[in-house]
Subunit: 392 residues, 2 copies
C-alpha cells in the first residue's frame, strides 16, 4: 500500500506519461495530447518544453491543416537521436539492432545460429554487430541502454540464462559476459523472447487496447508472453509463461526439459516434421515447406498440419479456461500453422474451453512479425527512460 | 495511459489507503501509519480525523506503553458500526454473514444445500438469513453494501450465473433475483467463490506479502483464484481461473462441462470416492472419511489418495510453468488431500515443473479456512468504500 504522490512526483510521472505516449503512438499534436492525457493546455506546453529541452522530443508546426486558427504544435519522439541497442538470441539466429525512441529500427544485423552453438560463440558476433552499428551513430545521439531478449528462461537481475532447452544452454552467464564484452555500453536489461514480443504486440501491434492477451511463439519449442488485466504475467522470478511445458499428453513423447508430453512435443517443429515424414529437416524453412506442401494437397503434410493444429487448439483451450483472454496471437512457426489450420484450431479450442471463457476470443497473427523481439528488447532499455525521463 | 492525479485526487487516494491499511491490518498506531504509508505526521493526523468524523475509524489512547513521551494514538476500523452482508452459494451449503469493516464476522447463518437444488429455492433461505441478521443491527450502524460469492462463473455486471457445472446452474439470474428479494439493501457485488477466497488469503491469510499465488479450492469441482504480480487474474469477462477445466488427461473421463479429462475429473470429489470404492457417498464428510481411512492404513483409501495426490501434483506442475508462483494454497477438500499426500504432490510437481519455475514454491493450507469465502464476499462490497471512503 502506497500513499499518494507529491507534486514533484506527479510532474515526473506526467513527463513519463507524455513521453511514453509519443513513444508508442508517434507524432501527436499538443491538442490531442491534452485530450488523451486529461491535462490542461498549459501543463502539456510546460511538459513538452521540458522534454524538448532534454532532447527527447521535437516540436514542429504541422503542414497546412485547412482549419482556421493557429495549428497545434506536433510533438514527435527524437527517434534519430535517442536510441537503444537490442540484442536477440533465438534458436536459429542471432540478431542485433539499433532502435530509436518511438520503436523505429535504425540499423540491424543478423547471422545464423547453428543448433548446438555454445553460448561463448554467440557472444562474439553479437558484440561485433553492436560495435559495427556504433560506428554509424551520429555524434549528438544519446544512448539510453541495451536490451537483451533470449529464447529461454533468463534471470532479470544479471542475465543468467537459467534454462534454455531449445537453445541447449543451462546456467550460462550470458548477460554478464555480453555486458563485459560491450564495455562502456554494457547497460543490459534482459527478458524472455516471447515475453518482450508480447509486450510490443500489446503496445503497438495486434493486441493494442486489449487487456487479456496470450501471445504464443513457436519454433523448436513454444514460449508465450501473457498479458492479464493489462499487465504482463511474469511470475516470481520472471520465468512464467512457459506454456510449452504445460503437459497435455501424459502418454506423449519425452521433452527436452526432461518431462513427457509437454505441449511443445505436440506442436513444436519436431512434431510437425516428424508427422510429415521429414525428420531429417529442421528450421523455419522446413516448417514452411510442410505448410506449403499441405496447401498443395500433399496428404502426409496435411495430416501433420492437422495433428499440430488439433493440439494447438487443445492447449489454447486450456489457456482460455485459465485466462479468459480476448485475443490469442500466433507467432513464429505457429503463425504458419494457424494460417492453414485455423478451422481445426478453433474447433478443438471450442471443444476444450468453457463457452464463457472463449466467447470473446479473437485468434490473430502478429502485426510486427519478427521485429517484435528486437523492438521488445529495446523496450526493456527504454523503460528506464520512460519511467523517469529526466533522471539521467 | 493516465496523467498524474490532482491534489484532491491524492487526498482521496490517501484516505482510501489509510482506511484500507487498518481494514486489513487492524488497529494501528498513528506512528506506524506514518512510517508504513510514507506520509508525514500532520497528514496522517488530518486523514484520521476525517475518517473518524465519517464514522469509519475510531482513535484512542493506547494502554501504558512503558516508553517515555506522549503515546501515539491508535487508529481502529469501526468494525461494529460499518458492515456489509456476505452471501456465499456453494455446492453443499448456502451461507450468509454480516461482516464488519476490518473483516470481522459479526453474525452468520448457514444451511445445507441439497445437490440439484434449483436456484429459485436457494434465494429464499439466503434472503431470509439477511433479514434475520438485520434485526440485530444497531441503529447507528452503517451498511455499505452486499457481496455474493458463487461457486461458478458469474457475470460481474449483473450477477448472472453463466455456468456453474458443479451446482448445476446455467444462465440463471441469481444476482438480479437475490437483489430484488433483498429490496432496499440489494446493492450486490458478485464474484467467484475461489477468487474471493484467494483475495482474502492474499490480504490476511496464508499468502500475505506474496505477489504470485495460486489458491485452489476443491469439492466436486476445482476452482482457483490466481494472483500474479500482486493482482488478481480474472480475465476479460471475469471468468478466468477455471483451472479445474484444464484438460490433463485427454483419454480421461467425461466432465460435467462437456469436455473430457478435465483436471477436476481426476482430483475432484467423485474421483476420490470412486477410487476408494465409495461411489454411493458424496460431500465433504465422505471425502474426510476416505482421508481418515487412508491414514488408518486402509489400502484402497490409500490408493485413492495417491491417485488424487498424483494428479494434483501434475496440475500444480502445469500451473507452476505458467505462473512461476511463490505459493500454492490448497483449500476445500484439496486441503485434506494435501495433508496426507504432500510428498506425492511435491514429487509429481517436481517432475512436471521446470526447476526455475518451481524453485521458490511453498505449498500451504489456507489460514482462514471456510471463512475466506464470506470475508471475501464482504470485501467485494467494502471495495467501493475503500476506493473512495467519503464518496457516499
Amino acid at each position: 500500500m502506497r500513499a499518494g504522490p507529491s507534486q514533484e512526483e506527479v510532474r515526473r510521472h506526467n513527463l513519463g506519461t507524455l513521453l511514453r505516449y509519443v513513444h508508442v503512438h508517434g507524432a501527436t499534436s499538443r491538442a490531442e495530447l491534452t485530450s488523451r492525457l486529461g491535462l490542461n493546455r498549459s501543463t502539456i506546453g510546460a511538459l513538452t518544453t521540458e522534454l524538448s529541452g532534454a532532447g527527447l522530443v521535437s516540436e514542429e508546426t504541422p503542414r497546412e491543416t485547412g482549419r482556421a486558427g493557429r495549428p497545434s504544435l506536433v510533438v514527435r519522439p527524437q527517434s534519430a537521436r535517442v536510441y537503444a541497442y537490442a540484442i536477440s538470441i533465438e534458436v536459429d539466429r542471432l540478431r542485433a539492432a539499433r532502435v530509436g525512441l518511438g520503436g523505429r529500427i535504425l540499423d540491424r544485423r543478423e547471422t545464423e545460429r547453428p543448433r548446438g552453438m555454445p553460448f561463448e560463440d554467440a557472444i562474439r558476433p553479437l558484440a561485433g554487430f553492436v560495435r559495427e552499428m556504433r560506428k554509424a551513430v551520429p555524434d549528438d545521439a544519446r544512448y539510453v541502454g541495451s536490451g537483451l531478449a533470449v529464447a529461454g528462461m533468463v534471470r532479470r537481475a544479471d542475465g543468467m540464462v537459467r534454462l534454455a532447452p531449445t537453445i541447449g544452454w543451462v546456467e550460462e552467464p550470458v548477460g554478464e559476459v555480453l555486458g563485459a564484452e560491450l564495455g562502456d555500453i554494457g547497460m543490459l536489461t534482459v527478458g524472455n523472447h516471447a515475453d518482450v514480443s508480447a509486450l510490443v504486440e500489446h503496445s503497438r501491434g495486434a493486441a493494442v487496447g486489449l487487456d487479456n492477451v496470450i501471445y504464443l511463439y513457436g519454433d523448436v519449442g513454444v514460449g508465450s508472453g501473457i498479458i492479464a488485466g493489462g499487465r504482463r504475467v511474469t511470475g516470481h522470478g520472471g520465468y512464467g509463461g512457459e506454456v510449452g511445458h504445460m503437459v497435455v499428453n501424459p502418454q506423449g513423447r519425452p521433452c527436452s526439459c526432461g518431462s513427457r508430453g509437454c505441449w511443445e512435443t505436440e506442436i513444436g517443429e519436431y512434431a510437425l516434421l516428424k508427422h510429415a515424414g521429414r525428420e531429417a529437416d529442421s528450421g523455419r524453412e522446413a516448417v514452411l515447406n510442410v505448410v506449403e506442401a499441405a496447401m498443395r494437397g500433399d496428404s502426409q503434410a496435411q495430416r501433420a498440419v492437422r495433428h499440430v493444429g488439433d493440439w494447438l487448439g487443445f492447449g489454447v483451450g486450456n489457456l482460455a479456461n485459465i485466462f479468459n483472454p480476448e485475443a490469442v496471437i500466433f507467432g513464429g512457426t505457429l503463425r504458419d500453422i494457424y494460417l492453414v489450420a485455423a478451422a481445426q484450431i478453433r474447433s478443438r479450442l471450442n471443444a476444450i474451453a468453457l463457452p464463457v471463457c472463449r466467447e470473446h476470443i479473437r485468434l490473430r497473427t502478429p502485426e510486427l512479425g519478427n521485429d517484435a523481439a528486437l523492438i521488445g528488447a529495446a523496450e526493456l532499455a527504454f523503460e528506464h527512460l520512460l519511467a523517469d525521463p529526466l533522471l539521467s
